[in-house]
């Protein structure tokens, strides 16, 4: 792994914008993904993200304590996600999908999907979990640039994602380099990208 990673680092750098190529996939094999809804794809990706992210030591609690995946806004995703994560585990913890409203404490979540599109609201939510080990995922490209950790990006009919490494650092989350290879990376400070 080390050899390949070291070798590949320079070469892979320009590929930060790699996305999920539905079109290319359709060209090679039957368009399996095309049959799925956008929610389903996002649900599968969301679950996969948890596998490439390390939470800090005690963040997920003792063994057997459920991991909460919260959904803020976007009523359409919740049922799909609930089905997709049924009987799934994250680092051995059972997964619970919860709908969150304004009264709830988003810091109790390990993963927080923010379905809002209002910049102020996004900023408030992000602010509320700042410093907490919460993997925040949003739907807009601004989400990561507003302090969210990870944002889906629609590129034509592809779904890609951008990762704010500073936000991840602040949340104490360790993002796998494998995931970073597939992602666009954003940094707040200094405000520059490496792509």
């Amino acid at each position: 792994m080390g050899i390949l990673a070291a070798r590949g680092a320079g070469r892979l750098a320009p590929l930060c914008m790699a996305g999920i190529s539905l079109a290319a996939q359709a060209a090679l094999e039957p368009p399996l993904a095309a049959e799925h809804s956008e929610y389903e794809i996002e649900s599968a990706m969301l679950y996969n993200f948890t596998k490439f992210v390390d939470w800090p030591g005690s963040a997920l609690g003792a063994g057997g304590v459920p991991v909460v995946v919260g959904v803020w806004g976007d009523d359409g995703l919740f049922p799909v996600l609930a089905v997709a994560l049924r009987n799934k585990t994250v680092y051995g913890h059972p997964v619970v999908v919860r709908r969150l409203d304004s009264s709830a404490d988003p810091r109790s979540c390990a993963v927080l999907f923010v379905g809002a599109s209002d910049r102020k609201e996004i900023a408030r939510i992000v602010q509320s979990v700042r410093g907490s080990p919460v993997l925040t995922i949003g739907e807009l490209v601004q989400f990561s640039r507003l302090g969210g950790v990870l944002a889906f990006i629609r590129d034509g009919n592809r779904i890609r994602f951008e990762i704010n490494l500073d936000a991840a650092d602040r949340a104490g989350l360790q993002v796998s380099s494998k995931l970073l290879r597939l992602a666009a990376v954003w940094r707040d400070n200094p405000p520059q990208t490496r792509n």
């Binding site: 790699a18 999920i20 190529s21 090679l28 993904a33 996969n48 596998k51 597939l182």
Partner: protein
């Protein structure tokens, strides 16, 4: 090519060590090569497996997020591995996902992932490695690698092995050429010695010994054998010398005996010749003597008759003496003549058939007077139905008369018997004439002289009984000529029996074919077979 066993020991030794070392070296080389092959294959497989695991690890995110481009990029990094010819990823649904194919090579990727593991096919090492992420099987990595490096390595090793083989064979050839002398030289020297011994026949030669190994033992044995042969040859020479001497003596002895035999033979021939000459001389002389003697007898009888007519007593007695002396001399000469003829082989037999009874009658008639002279009784007996005899009647009568006159002469006041009987000896028919007397008999030690010429039983006999001493000898020879013999049995003082046995001819039984017996008097037949005279 010559068979191996005919090649010289030197070459055999070199050949054996060459073959041994070469085979051993080849075995070592092959083992080494095989080990190298296995090891290298294992190493290569292990390397490929490691590489596949790295690729699988690197591809997890791409497979998880279905990121084909990233997967392709990951695979493209394999370009740095020169022996890798192809690589690809399959999704967990066994669909081809990402592909790396070295340019210039045909596309022959398996359409579906195979079972996990490495295998060699078509000179390539191919390997399937499952991509497992967080306990889930999310895809498969396929790597295919050529084995050209392994082939090249094997070729290089084979080349090195060949060179090593050649060089070590050369060294082995050199070494064995030098070292074979240790064994071959003593052997060859021994062989040369053996052949020298057999060609020169010099058994005093000895082989030199170099060591105490088996060849040393062989040399010792050879030398010991040579010693024995030498001793034996010497003995043989001695024995041969003795033998030659013996043979020489034997030859000499032989020659001497041969000479003696020849001399004896010559002497015998000379004796026989002289005997024959003597007999011929006697025959001639007897004939010449008889002629004047007959004249003397004839004229003396004539003179005696004239004197009797003139009654002159004195000349009658004298003339009678002359006649008697002449007759005696004549009979003597006749006997000598007969014997001479027989011994000279000039006797001629006149064969004819005769009746035994008739012959007996005649002989008894002739002898009756002589028998009575000494007061003897003559009794003859003839067996009935005797077959005719085939004989020379004159000679037979002479023999029979001789026996009868002897019997009468040597018997006083006794009995003279003649018996004629048929006998069968060993299936041959014969007739025996037995003349017996009761006279003085013959002592056993005189028996053998009986049939010798000029030998009466003792000298005094001649003076006392007269006779020439030739009668029995002549009779025996006559009977011999007719196929018979005379035998005698006697007891001194009690009498003698002389037996003439004559064989009947094979056709003797066929009276019808016989000529008739012509005699003036018919033969006495029938009942009076025994007569007294």
């Amino acid at each position: 090519m010559r068979p191996f066993r005919d090649i010289s020991i030197k070459r055999k030794l070199i050949g054996i060590s060459m073959v041994t070392s070469t085979v051993a070296l080849m075995l070592a080389c092959f083992t080494f090569l095989a080990y190298e092959l296995v090891t290298y294959r294992t190493t290569v497989t292990h390397q490929l497996k490691t590489l596949a695991q790295i690729v699988a690890e690197s591809s997890t995110a791409a497979l998880a997020f279905d990121d084909r481009r990233s997967a392709n990029e990951t695979l493209a990094a394999l370009r740095a591995e020169p022996h890798l010819v192809a690589a690809c990823n399959y999704t967990k649904h066994a669909r081809l996902f990402a592909v790396f194919q070295r340019s210039g090579l045909p596309k022959d990727l398996p359409r579906l992932p195979g079972p996990q593991g490495a295998r060699i096919q078509d000179g390539h090492l191919a390997l399937f490695q499952r991509v497992v992420f967080d306990g889930d099987w999310i895809g498969t990595v396929y790597l295919k690698r050529d084995l050209q490096d392994m082939d090249a390595r094997l070729e290089r090793y084979a080349g090195i092995a060949l060179v090593v083989l050649l060089i070590s064979s050369l060294v082995a050839l050199l070494l064995s050429s030098m070292l074979q002398r240790v064994i071959s030289e003593p052997t060859l020297r021994l062989a040369e010695m053996a052949s020298r011994v057999s060609t020169e026949r010099d058994y005093s030669l000895r082989a030199a010994k170099r060591g105490n190994d088996e060849i040393g033992v062989l040399v010792d044995s050879f030398n010991e054998m040579m010693g024995q042969i030498q001793a034996r040859t010497l003995d043989l020479h001695v024995v041969q010398g003795a033998l030659e001497r013996h043979v020489g003596e034997l030859c000499e002895e032989n020659a001497r005996r041969q000479r003696a035999q020849e001399e004896a033979l010559a002497a015998k021939q000379a004796a026989e010749e002289s005997n024959r000459v003597k007999s011929a001389f006697l025959a001639n002389m007897s004939h010449e003597l008889r002629t004047p003697l007959n004249a003397i007898i004839g004229y003396s009888e004539m003179l005696r008759e004239e004197a009797e007519e003139h009654h002159e007593a004195r000349p009658v007695v004298d003339l009678a003496r002359i006649t008697a002396a002449g007759k005696h001399l004549l009979s003597l000469i006749n006997d000598v003549l007969d014997l001479s003829k027989v011994e000279a082989g000039k006797t001629e037999l006149v064969w004819e058939y005769a009746s035994p009874a008739q012959i007996l009658e005649d002989a008894a008639g002739a002898m009756a007077l002589l028998a009575r002279t000494n007061g003897n009784q003559l009794i003859v007996h003839c067996a009935p139905s005797l077959p005719a005899m085939y004989v020379d009647v004159v000679k037979f009568r002479q023999s029979l008369d001789n026996l009868l006159s002897n019997a009468c002469k040597f018997t006083k006041n006794g009995t003279i018997g003649v018996e004629v009987v048929p006998v069968s000896v060993d299936g041959a028919e014969a007739i025996e004439w037995r003349v017996s007397d009761t006279g003085i008999g013959i002592a056993p030690d005189q028996m053998h002289k009986l049939f010798q010429p000029f030998s009466q039983v003792d000298a005094s006999t001649t003076r006392k009984y007269g006779g020439t001493g030739l009668g029995l000898a002549i009779s025996q020879r006559f009977c011999g000529l007719m196929g018979g013999a005379i035998t005698v049995s006697s007891e001194a003082g009690k009498g003698s029996t002389f037996t003439i046995r004559l064989p009947l001819r094979q056709d003797g039984g066929l009276l019808a074919e016989r000529p008739p017996l012509s005699r003036s008097r018919p033969p006495p037949t029938g009942r009076h077979r025994t007569r007294f005279w």
